[in-house]
Amino acid sequence: MAELGPVELLFVEFPGNQFTGEIIPALRDLIDQKTIRVLDLVFVAKDADGNAVGIELEELPSDSKGAFSELVEELEALISEEDVEDLAEALEPNSSAAILLFEHTWAVPFRDAIADSGGRLVVRLPITEEALAEIAAAG
């Protein structure tokens, strides 16, 4: 994986066991603008009893499959079965989820500028909503 921009994994839960695909236009825009690039995509479904199963893109129902396939040129199997199992524990019963692995392509020129100027990115730390809420509450 040579010279990728920053890579991020999102685990997004949907109620019910179907992917409505409404996030697809939003992702499509980001990809078309070269803001992000989808590296890997896999899905998880959990039934009412809490049993979870991983679902590959090609195993989705055809309309969902067609819609999600537009988002990714070439899937690399970077998300492992272990990831699917670990993340599935956080999933509510009778719901489904998408595991999205993407590259922040927008950040590449910035990353290169840092390196060219002799700088060193020491820490990259996403600040969670929970942390911001706690800080805001503390006044």
């Binding site: 896999v42 492992s80 079965e81 272990e82 990831d83 699917v84 670990d86 692995l101 020491v122």
Partner: protein
């Protein structure tokens, strides 16, 4: 999921390497340690015994010394007279 089997998970690898590489977890760990040090009970206060304050020069004394210096510079007082009177004023 045959294609995805057998390779290490991203989630666990990130969790493990974040500590090794000194990223977020390690940084927050160091910050937490510094906070703990700050909140530690304060060192016992050192008691200083205060020396009795030196007698301050009175304004009169300063005025007198100035007059004396003036007389000395004009040659009205000799060096010895000046020194003697000065010593007297300063109480030394």
């Amino acid at each position: 999921m045959p294609l995805r089997r057998g390779r290490p998970g991203l989630v666990r690898t990130v969790g493990r390497t974040a500590v090794i590489a000194g990223t977020a977890t390690a940084v927050s760990g160091r910050v937490a340690n510094r906070q703990a040090e700050k909140n530690a009970p304060a060192e016992p206060q050192v008691q200083y015994v205060e020396a009795p304050p030196a007698a301050p020069a009175a304004e009169d004394d300063v005025a007198q010394l100035e007059q004396l210096a003036d007389l000395h510079s004009k040659g009205i007082l000799t060096d010895e007279e000046f020194a003697a009177k000065k010593a007297q004023i300063l109480g030394i």
